[in-house]
Symmetry: D2
Subunit: 435 residues, 4 copies
């Protein structure tokens, strides 16, 4: 996911039904306030130093996320739509623009960890000032689409704030915890379903499916236009691949068997000495609560596309396409309401995958689909047109939602995307097979 959002002329209504249960009856202004508050809650356990450091170019400091989401509202709402508005600090867009070429030069991505100033307090003051200035616009229907977009954008950054700080803490040999309290293993486990057998598979007869955003409510531009796709018969497993199953892959020499891997993947495995998912050591893995014992029944996470593909080959199956995944999701009882179930982010508390039978939640699921434009896709005009379209090269689509995705932010048509070697997100896999 590269963080931004396409304007989307397809946004039919700002009264989305795809929001979290407790947001269903909220006004746009209330949802704006709730989203902004959650970002601050998530950053609360962090010291000024925690919020400033950057552990790799892919990740950004927590303070940067707080500032960038504010820059987004200030730039595209206040600056562009509020007559007479003056920027809080005219030097800050250089620091907090992410990748919008149309918005001008900006600090190199790898240097975001050098922004000791402005301080965390100054960023919080900025957030308050923008929240105050934006208030008169929140009830004006003329701005509803952009505000929806800004909310969705900030929700994406909430997920990134959590995954980025996890990586930063992981790199500290002291293994600091963001929250206290060890996770207990769930007694009721995910299932013990065998890899390939058992009743726990969603069957699909094939045929023509309508894919892409088609309900009311908000969606990013890359989720449309809705269009028809022809599917062959297939099956999608009901549960995610677990840590225990991954242990089996390792024990069977999965990381040392060239024939299981794509050519680029095998280069990566050898060049980077990959031997296990990110954040694993012995029987433990690193969490927002520090180092903890791994639950063999919980879904495996923090794997790359390369690893997901190799595992599927090892299991004699394959990854689903994004269309297959979506077709199953749409066939479920409440396809439009994934927010009703699944392990997603409800509050500022430690996220942890735990397994189950939900399609949404726990982790993003790799598909074998390259991230490409849908037929007749066209990005929006102007800077927000850079939100999604320009990343359509070299990345892969992931479906679902993770335990760090804010509840209400997910839907069947949602397309997340990453490069095939990235794995600091909560990424996992769900097997598919031909029938």
């Amino acid at each position: 996911m590269v963080l931004s959002e396409g304007r989307g002329g397809t946004i039919a209504s700002s009264h989305s039904n795809a929001v979290a249960p407790d947001q269903r009856n909220m006004s746009l202004a209330e949802r704006y306030a709730a989203t902004r508050r959650l970002s601050e809650k998530l950053a609360e356990p962090l010291s000024e130093a925690d919020a400033t450091i950057q552990s790799m170019p892919d990740a950004s400091p927590a303070k940067w996320h707080l500032a960038h989401t504010t820059w987004f509202f200030e730039t595209f709402l206040l600056r562009d739509s509020l007559p007479g508005y003056r920027l809080h600090d005219e030097r800050w867009p250089f620091l907090f623009n992410s990748y919008y070429e149309a918005e001008g030069a900006r600090i190199a991505r790898k240097d975001r960890g050098l922004i000791a100033r402005p301080s965390l307090d100054e960023v919080h003051d900025w957030r308050e000032a923008v929240d105050e200035a934006i208030r008169p616009l929140l009830d004006d229907p003329a701005h509803a689409d952009l505000i929806e977009l800004g909310i969705a954008h900030e929700q994406q950054h909430q997920e990134l704030l959590l995954t980025d700080i996890k990586h930063a803490f992981f790199k500290n040999p002291l293994g600091p915890a963001m929250w206290r309290g060890r996770h207990a293993h769930e007694d009721e486990q995910a299932g013990g379903v065998g890899l390939a057998d058992g009743p726990d598979w969603h069957q699909h007869p094939g045929g023509i499916a309508l894919i892409g955003h088609q309900e009311g409510g908000f969606a990013f531009d890359n989720e449309g236009p809705a269009h028809r796709v022809l599917l062959e018969p297939f099956a999608l497993r009901g549960t995610l691949v677990t840590n225990g199953e991954w242990d089996g892959f390792i024990a069977d020499g999965g990381y040392r068997t060239a024939s299981l891997w794509l050519s680029d993947a095998w280069d990566w495995v050898r060049r980077c000495n990959i031997e296990a998912p990110l954040y694993w050591r012995d029987g433990e893995h690193f969490t927002h609560c520090g180092w903890e014992e791994r639950d063999p029944d919980a879904p495996v996470t923090h794997i790359s596309y390369y690893e997901a593909d190799a595992f599927a080959s090892w299991a004699g199956m394959r990854l689903p396409t994004e269309f297959e995944w979506e077709a199953i999701a749409r066939g479920q009882d409440s396809p439009g309401h994934p927010a009703d179930g699944g392990n997603q982010l409800d509050e500022a508390a430690p996220p942890l995958p735990r397994g189950g039978h939900d399609l949404f939640g726990d982790c993003w699921q790799f598909t074998r689909s390259a991230y490409l434009p849908y037929p007749r896709f066209a990005p929006a005009e102007g800077a927000v047109g850079e939100y999604n379209g320009k990343f359509m090269a070299g990345q892969w689509v992931l479906k679902g939602a993770s335990c760090t995705t804010v509840r209400g932010h997910s839907r069947p048509s949602y397309r997340n995307f990453f490069y095939p070697q990235q794995r600091w997100q909560f990424t996992g896999l769900r097997l598919a097979r031909d029938v």
Copy 2:
């Protein structure tokens, strides 16, 4: 194109109708001999030094191509099927295995230019010895599929031999010529058709198309299985984008306009200071005959996917999908006989794109399709299973054939593939648009 070939259990018959006109009535043994002879003819203008050097990791020395194709026949035919056969030199597979993990360790790709020994003469001796030893197998139907594969494999390397030596000569400041005689501009030019108008567009009404290898004859494993795909209405331009049209793109600041480029592409343009196609300087371009004046009506070649995509955006159109391209090709009068027309390789003579109305020939044409497996695709067992499948990550499909593709080697289902920044092949583009 990464050079190898899938075994392909789908090969129904070794009497292919997709060969070049003058090969239609040839026996398999005759076609084997003709293919081997052509490789040697292509290398004839080269000195021992020319044939030894490697100008970049992507390219291989001409001597290496001569040896590798021989290794292929020796390994998969003679060694595996001829009882009592002893390798010509048991140390050479280390040098001339390309990327088959199942065939063991091998010299690093970037070091192929260090193989001063064996000498060119020794490689020619090896070729003769293998040709001699293989003779008894050529008429045996049990080996026909593998021999077809070996012929197709050597044809691919004939194209690479030509494009690789072109790059090597280009890197020499003296700009040596492989053949003499300047190309004259064709008087009858490609057309002067405007980018978006005129009658010269293939129209397609959309609907379900059957895609993939479906005729008799040889095909690589990645061309199947044949399967149905749903298309929306579209149009495909009858002619290729020309040098002159590309001059217009440059003059309009195409290489300096961020909004035309994918995000990875823009990084590439700036990091590598890309300002024109490979092999261009002023009004000239580098050819197998040295530096020559550019023909504005000839198709542009030696461009990357990134450039093709940016040009299409600039023109307000897009690249076709691989399915759209193939659907048009199948709708033509002689879809199974592209060998009958187009500018392809007929003999050891300087190749040069010249333009026209053929779908095949002149240059490979980028599609907007990522190189991925077709539904129910499975690579063959054993080493030859590494021919195509393991490269299905990060590359893009190209359709058609180029002026360096041996006549008879092309067909509508053929899928060539390259990384988005590569451009030392004869790569160009044909525009598409929604209707």
Copy 3:
């Protein structure tokens, strides 16, 4: 200067006369306390975030300097000499050991900016605890040498703390200031002495000079053994090269004239697009008070060896050897008391070169001497033996002292050393010539 200190069996007495005026009559315990206090004073203007970030691998975070100097005392004094002492936190040596192989594994140098934890407060608590625990040892003559070493070590890090944070602030586009208040240009300027003429040159007749540490008091191991060196007649300019003179070098195309530069230097200039000293833009330079106008009469600083050598070539002169420089310094009125004059660090206040006739102060001065062992040099046994000796390859000797060197830390035999491309220290040059 790589930060550490050789034990030095040559330390005759811990009652050094080479300390700053106000430290002359202090006891060792008083000097320990003053040194520790100054480190904390220097860090006072920094926020938690300021003190945590690392702007390049050469530089370290301010918090790290505060911690590392404390680790030094805890490791080599308390742990090794105080029976029953328990480490404040046994996981911290991994974080705060700099480069002592004998002290075991440690965090990679480039990752020091990831140490958000322990917090700045925790580091301050550690400092207090160590200061408390060390008190009984301060008056014990058995430990005097190591305490002297620890004090000198912490003084070196005070200089680095200042130069490292300067670089970190420089990298922030906001250009934050560590202290307020613009520097006013000194009215009484350095001189306007021409490069090569005027009376302002120290003359030396040549002959045998005794070089190296030879007085009582503390010195690093690399300053000895004292030994004789044969000098040819030469002259050393009385003043440093100024910003204004450097402007002349630039205006004359100095950075574009290959013949002025060493071969490695010319590669560096072109590869890194070097066009001026570090921290320069237009008529300004970056200081601890932010961006300020440059004083043309102040000494140029933040140049590399490569630049210093090229400038000397341009001026038709050369850099002095370390022996020539020291011979002049020893011939001055109060050679043992450089602390009495010069622009050095006296308190936590903004340092800035200003020029004058002192050999010490303002900036470190490059010599044309490679940093190599003196005859019969042998490093000390054990971990502290790694302080200096192992860096004797590829670096150059600098003499004098800078405006960030604590007063009392300098002496004629002092040998600072850096790689030829480094320039984030206050480095400048003083010309020499043969006579």
Copy 4:
């Protein structure tokens, strides 16, 4: 050694007494012819392909050496001194200028292996043409200095031709041999002298020594001016360190003991996984005759400065300074005639170190002296001034001569120089100690 030579106004006479025995009574014209002939003899065993390839940026193709030495004579003699002379091919200086900035742009060093054209035959034709054109100048005293320089220059490249092709063949997994015939171990071995004891040490009482070129005859500019240096008493071992002694260093864990290594050296050992000298495997080493058994009594070669220094530390001794080495050499019976003894290059035949008591021959010997200018050194005016002076940064002085150094090319004042990690030359070490 970077290959070229400073004009040297100090050249007193072109009738050198420092030439090989069989050249003593030759005229300059005869020596020119002999030198040119030897280069061609050395290249005789090489194929066109062998002579074209480049195995690493440090090394150059044999054909390039043949051409570059010819370019040197054509440029600085014919072009500059022969009225009306026209360049053989005006495009070739771009290819065969090595590093002379004053002579304009040139092909990147790493791309010398791409010069398939001109062919080896064309280069030989060029050599003949230049030899023919230069004939009238050979007896003219006005050009004697430059011709001496050109001869010395070509002799340096003869050594490089041999060491570069050795590396290229080593990189070929077939391990080709340049000459046939295995070396037999010498029966009379070097000595079995213990590392530190025995009578076989040259003693020196210290005092003032006159260093640098001081006899008649040719010398490079970096060997002067002659000047006095003060030495402390020391001893220099009579024999070189042997392969067998190096085996002891390895067996004792020398490559795994951090405390023996300089800091930069230890980084290099770990980053490059250094475990033995270059060209070693098991009990063998690679030679110009292919892989051969190692002679434990022969001198170790192909080591870096880093390794030489670590070995000396392990042995409890040190490397000599360049001044110490030269002082011993000058104290020998025939200091001016090293050509009379030692294992140097006499003809086109396989070179191999064999040990003995000569100071010259077998291998270049590292000193602990950085390569810096002697007092009052000034490079010559013009392009030839780039021969030596601009490399005086970051390299180390080596003394003596190797088995690939043409007899007559060595003398006590000769200063060879390399970077501390380079080891493809015949480099070894001779221990020193304080007394």
